[in-house]
């Protein structure tokens, strides 16, 4: 046996890594050429990018006709996207047929909404409760009277004239604010020990989740008027809102249920041992924790709802998608090879910006809360 005793006299200082482990070349070696197969994939990826990026660049920017361009330029051979069409029809895309001199009213609604929503979303801003109450209760009332008019000498503007992004935003904001509490109630009902209430909630949730939204909207727009007493009509807008809200609340309920199930029994017991009533327990202890758990799921439901608002087009509502499609089909003065494509791409970008920011926000909140849990 060899001598095994050994004591290190001088510590080895950390050396910089050989070139193979740091720097740009090492990065490329690790991320692009780790194995020969990786190398092949990288080459194929680059070839694909070289193939797809130049035409896309040319379409969107290179050969595109800018916002101040003319239709003649759009009709030229090799012209790219016709942004001039978008900029000239922008008003219609945002407000629909809303009377042009009255468009300051939706503008105020937009501004108010942004002013209330942004501080609500930034965690550091104080007065969350006041802010939320204003946003959830005062804002809808103010907005409704501002938009519909008929009071304080404001010119009445019927909902048929509302359109474009305005309608998309109204439906999604109202849908989100109404479906959220409804979803919570359904989720609590599903957890309930009372068989009648539990069965009702399960039946509603499962039925709605089984069928496509479009059939719920059909039902809301065709059957809702039949259900009402004779002579009573429901605004088309309201029918769509009811459909969207009921549909989303069922999905929301399932998300909230996931959160409720993640709360350990001890929390319920602790609440009960303090002598809190059922609703106090839910409001002060269970729901705040449960909802925090499922923020990503809630935001995903919001994103789905936002995308789903486009379906109201099918039951004859005039949302952003409808506005774009109408102009694509009817704006003969802007007709060119790329007009329709540009219109849809514009709508896609608007939807994308909203949905993508929501999903990023949910990731941000998730990280924040996660670090909160881990100390």
């Amino acid at each position: 046996m060899t001598d095994i005793g050994f004591v290190r006299a001088d510590m080895v200082d950390a050396k910089p890594a050989p070139n193979r482990t740091s720097g740009a070349i090492a990065w490329a070696q690790k991320n692009l050429f780790a194995t020969p197969l990786d190398g092949v994939l990288t080459v194929l990826g680059v070839v694909f990018l070289l193939w797809i990026v130049p035409p896309l660049y040319n379409f969107f920017i290179g050969h595109a006709v800018g916002p101040s361009g003319t239709v003649e330029e759009c009709r030229m051979e090799n012209a790219g996207a016709c942004w001039a069409y978008i900029s000239s029809e922008m008003e219609f895309f945002i407000y629909g047929f809303y009377d042009i001199p009255q468009q300051w009213r939706p503008n105020i609604v937009f501004a108010l909404g942004a002013a209330l929503l942004i501080p609500l979303l930034i965690p550091k801003v104080p007065f969350k409760r006041t802010n939320a109450v204003l946003f959830l209760f005062a804002y809808p009332v103010v907005s409704y009277f501002l938009l519909a008019g008929g009071v304080f000498g404001l010119m009445p503007i019927p909902t048929e004239k509302w359109g474009g992004l305005l309608v998309t935003l109204i439906i999604s904001v109202v849908g989100i604010t109404l479906s959220f509490p409804l979803g919570i109630i359904l989720a609590l009902g599903r957890q309930s020990k009372m068989p009648v209430i539990k069965t009702l909630c399960i039946g509603f949730i499962e039925l709605v989740r089984a069928v496509p939204l479009i059939s719920v909207l059909f039902m809301a727009s065709i059957m809702l008027p039949l259900f009402m007493p004779q002579g009573m009509t429901i605004d088309k807008f309201l029918r769509a809102l009811v459909g969207v809200t009921l549909f989303t609340s069922a999905y929301m309920a399932e998300v909230v249920r996931g959160g409720l199930q993640a709360i350990p029994r001890g929390q319920y017991e602790a609440g009960a041992s303090l002598g809190l009533s059922y609703w106090q327990r839910m409001y002060f202890i269970i729901l705040p924790q449960a909802l925090k758990h499922v923020i990503p799921g809630i935001v995903n439901s919001f994103i789905a709802l936002f995308k789903d608002t486009s379906l109201v087009y099918i039951v004859g509502m005039k949302d952003l998608l409808e506005a774009v499609k109408t102009k694509n089909d009817t704006a003969l003065e802007w007709q060119s090879a790329n007009t329709a494509t540009t219109g849809y791409l514009f709508a896609a970008m608007v939807f994308w910006v909203f949905c993508f920011s929501m999903s990023r926000y949910s990731i941000f909140m998730e990280r924040r809360l996660n670090t909160g849990y881990k100390r």
Partner: protein, 265 residues
């Protein structure tokens, strides 16, 4: 670098365990490893003879686990040589496979395959790597399950077993490949105190059979009883190594003294 030799007679408890004078199991020469820019292992030199039982100790983050993970190439080293059973580890997949067939590894978190029964966990590799007939593989598996004292659990799933039982299954799983060297990566750290003993007993009986073992562990009692050599690592380098008696009673290096005073109170 200086060599301090010290000759102490091997205690009787270890006298039965044979250590080969000529056959080298593992040889590590001037090995360095970096994670990106972080120099995790520095100038590692280590020669393990067949039948040696080595315990590697050191504070967390000292590179102990990384070192033994390099020995079956779960981690790649950048400089120096690692030679296992005469095969030098390089990027060559054939050599890596060769080495992994001969080297068993036991993980801190067991890493049993949760979708397979205990018996299937044990026979998977013998059947698909060694091409051993199923009946024979199962017989071997039962043999090792009896050796780790849980033959009655053969048809259960890992999720149904306690942590200590799972770790014993994990040891049996490695043994089924009939390795010549066993690596243990903190095998008892994730266990409840009352389960540590049952796993250590299995490891001790393995040592008595003359298995070459490298254990990263904080079980100093195990080191005293079984090891023929204790290696102390800190900051990615081997600071001190010695026979357990000498190591514990007479540590030489400042860091070793500090470490021992912290863990032995």
């Amino acid at each position: 670098m200086s060599q301090v030799s010290e000759t102490t007679g091997a205690p009787t408890a270890r006298s039965t365990m044979q250590i080969s004078d000529t056959n080298v199991a593992i040889e590590v020469i001037g090995m360095h490893k970096w994670y990106a820019d972080f120099h995790v292992l520095r100038d590692i030199n280590l020669k393990v003879m067949e039948g040696e039982r080595i315990v590697i100790a050191g504070p967390s983050g000292s590179g102990k686990s990384t070192l033994i993970r390099c020995i079956n190439r779960l981690e790649e080293h950048q400089e120096g040589q690692i030679i296992v059973n005469g095969t030098e580890l390089t990027a060559d997949l054939k050599r890596i496979d060769e080495v992994r067939r001969e080297v068993g590894m036991v993980f801190q978190h067991f890493n049993l395959f949760p979708h397979l029964t205990i018996l299937q966990n044990l026979t998977l590799a013998p059947i698909w790597v060694r091409g051993i007939p199923k009946a024979e593989a199962e017989a071997t598996a039962m043999h090792y399950l009896e050796r780790v004292k849980i033959p009655e659990q053969a048809n259960k799933f890992p999720g149904q077993l306690s942590g200590g039982q799972q770790q014993r299954v994990a040891i049996a799983r490695s043994l089924c490949m009939q390795p010549r060297i066993m690596l243990f990566d903190e095998p008892t750290s994730a266990l409840d105190p009352e389960m540590v003993k049952e796993v250590l007993e299995v490891m001790i009986s393995l040592a008595e059979d003359g298995m070459t073992m490298l254990c990263v562990t904080h079980e100093m009692g195990f080191a005293r009883q079984v090891a023929n050599r204790v290696i102390f690592m800190d900051q990615g380098q081997i600071i001190e190594q010695n026979e357990p008696e000498a190591f514990f009673s007479n540590p030489q290096h400042e860091r070793t003294k500090l470490f021992l005073s912290q863990i032995l109170h």
